[in-house]
């Protein structure tokens, strides 16, 4: 009897895994089929106004890149503070937990927040608002990554740096960060992959644009927002365009994830 229960549970668990993998394949296969069939040279050379994806691809990437530029320095320095300067005091623990909570906060709420503080004063949607919203999402991830990676560096390496007469900030920058460099970069890469696929924070902060533009002061092209709009259009051509965009986005995100995993594995050797 016990053996039978055991067998049943094991079979069910395996079934669960099969179902999980099944969903993954279902999603990826439909995405690939619909996406690839809609891909042609045109979508890379034309902008949304001409039924292409060019401005959206560039725009999404730009927004995510701006988020990195804004968010990574803040996140890294905060992570350094937590690991190197706080000695686990209560305030640092509090900030650490707060940062983790922020990581799981609803992205649409962050969108409303940025709307209130950036879009409203300016008077209209703009690219900066979108970048800031993405940056706010990026910061907690970078904090956690930096914090964890620096924590992996052995204590003796810090002591050795100090023992040779280096001031603390030099020990951190010349030695500790260098030692954790690979882990931190991978973490930032994965955070970038996560941010670049976001839609909700951009919906009413940077909106979308049909034209190619690098002007962050006004509405800014976003692949994800465009997909949201296109997918529900009655025109099948537009829906296919959405699939093409979705396929490219997913491809990009999954490749970065795999690269990140590969790097982490390499490091472990």
């Amino acid at each position: 009897m016990r053996l039978m229960i055991n067998k049943i549970v094991l079979i069910l668990s395996t079934l669960a895994a099969v179902i999980g993998i099944g969903f993954l394949f279902w999603i990826l296969i439909t995405l690939t089929i619909k996406g690839v069939s809609a891909i042609n040279l045109h979508i890379f050379t034309a902008d949304l106004v001409d039924n292409g994806l060019r401005n959206l691809l560039v725009g999404q990437f730009t927004l995510a890149l701006m988020a990195v530029v804004i968010g990574v320095p803040i996140g890294m320095v905060a992570g350094i503070y937590l690991q190197e300067y706080s000695f686990g005091n209560k305030y640092a623990e509090f900030i650490r937990n707060l940062s983790d909570v922020m990581m799981s906060a609803p992205s649409i709420v962050i969108g409303t927040f940025v709307y209130a503080i950036v879009v409203n004063p300016v008077g209209h949607v703009n690219g900066w608002a979108g970048a800031i919203a993405l940056a706010i999402m990026m910061i907690p991830i970078v904090v956690r990554t930096t914090d964890d990676m620096l924590g992996l560096v052995p204590r003796e390496l810090r002591e050795a740096g100090v023992a040779i007469g280096a001031p603390k900030y030099k020990v951190i920058f010349n030695i500790i960060i260098k030692a954790a460099k690979v882990g931190i970069m991978t973490g930032i890469l994965l955070a970038f992959a996560r941010i670049v696929g976001e839609t909700a924070p951009l919906l009413f902060t940077s909106g979308n644009s049909e034209y190619f533009t690098m002007d962050l002061n006004n509405e800014f092209p976003s692949l994800t927002v465009a997909i949201y709009n296109l997918a529900t259009m009655p025109d099948e051509k537009l829906v296919n365009l959405a699939w093409a965009g979705a396929f490219l986005l997913t491809l990009f995100v999954l490749i970065i994830n795999l690269i990140g995993r590969f790097i982490t594995k390499e490091k472990k050797q």
Binding site: A16, A17, T199, F204, A231
Partner: protein, 334 residues
């Protein structure tokens, strides 16, 4: 130099606190007119954008509403334009909440958040009902059943599932999964049920990974002693691993719950976007993030304040749930 850097570092850390508190404060400020207008009734009122005759309104309110109407009429002759060109009035601290509708008969507009709140809660419950057993199963499979050459690729596959952007889940749900579900259960291809299931699929990888990691923290010696007594694998999982990893597992479930609450894009595609209570599980409805996503851009005045009120509610609930999860994890660490 050293002290400069130390100061900068500590300021960066404080930035996080600043951002989080700013979110609270800003949401609250922008929601205040709606909070003042509707109070806690907002949470249980199912009406959205419904006009009610002012006879139901108290005397002081009548006066203030009349005053606002006089103001508005003074701005321009055309009522419609008055609404569109209006400065949202959200920058000043005076809670001038302007009703959307200005008509000759005295009415005010009621906004209540019950429908999206219920939608959020129900869709999340459905998601958890499906996600928890599947995620536990997957975690068990990865941690205890599969030999390494299987658990590695499967583990990677699960993590890839987690990396897929939510908008993709939305599209897939709208065009493939929704129709599939409706062919089995009837009802529309966009509905509360579809939304709940898509949510489930989205949080399963997250829950499974965290649970698997928690399970892996169980010391081998503990497991080995149980096996040595002749326990079956299931019994070891049930009596040794799960109790040991209990806090981490519960924490991961609560955290996944927190994430499901705030999920926007996938749900927006498949929940139907109809601002009514679903009569059955296969009816369309809305959730808070979906209402925000769909209505935010075109709203102004009191309805915008009401949306901020909704956002505040969502933020507070998520914050509480996630903090609770964190607390659980922390207890595990001690």
């Amino acid at each position: 130099m050293e002290s400069i850097f130390k100061k900068i570092a500590s300021m960066s850390a404080t930035t996080i606190l600043l951002i989080l508190s700013s979110i609270f404060i800003v949401l609250f400020i922008y929601a205040k007119p709606a909070i003042a207008e509707y109070g806690l009734n907002f949470i249980i009122d199912p009406r959205w954008g419904v006009e009610v005759p002012l006879d139901n309104v108290k005397k002081e309110d009548k006066v203030s509403i009349k005053e606002k109407k006089v103001e508005q009429k003074a701005l321009t002759h055309d009522d419609e334009i008055a609404v569109d060109e209006e400065d949202l009035g959200l920058d000043d601290e005076d809670d001038i909440a302007v009703g959307d509708e200005i008509s000759e008969t005295n009415t005010k507009t009621i906004y209540g958040g019950l429908v999206p709140i219920v939608g959020t809660i129900l869709s999340t419950i459905i998601a958890l009902l499906f996600a928890i057993p599947l995620a536990m199963g997957i975690a068990i499979f990865l941690s205890e059943i599969a030999p390494e050459f299987i658990s590695k690729p499967v583990g990677i596959a699960i993590e890839l599932l987690a990396a897929i952007p939510s908008i993709i889940y939305g599209m897939w749900g709208l065009f493939y999964f929704g129709p599939f579900i409706s062919s089995i259960f009837g009802g529309g291809s966009v509905s509360l049920l579809v939304a709940g299931l898509v949510l489930a699929i989205m949080i399963i990888p997250f829950m499974a990974s965290l649970t698997r990691d928690s399970m892996n923290t169980t010391p081998s010696v503990l497991k080995e002693s149980a096996y040595a007594m002749g326990a079956t694998k299931f019994e070891v999982i049930k009596d040794v691993i799960f109790p040991y990893a209990k806090k981490g597992i519960i924490g991961s479930i609560i955290l996944a719950l927190g994430r499901a609450l705030g999920e926007t894009m996938a749900v927006a595609f498949v929940i139907g976007g109809v601002f009514t209570f679903p009569k059955s599980i296969t009816d369309p409805t809305v959730s808070i993030p979906v209402v925000l996503a769909n209505s935010f851009a075109e709203s102004n005045g009191l309805s915008l304040n009401a949306l901020f009120y909704l956002a505040l509610v969502l933020f507070v609930i998520s914050f509480i749930v996630i903090s609770f999860a964190k607390f659980y994890f922390l207890r595990d660490k001690k």
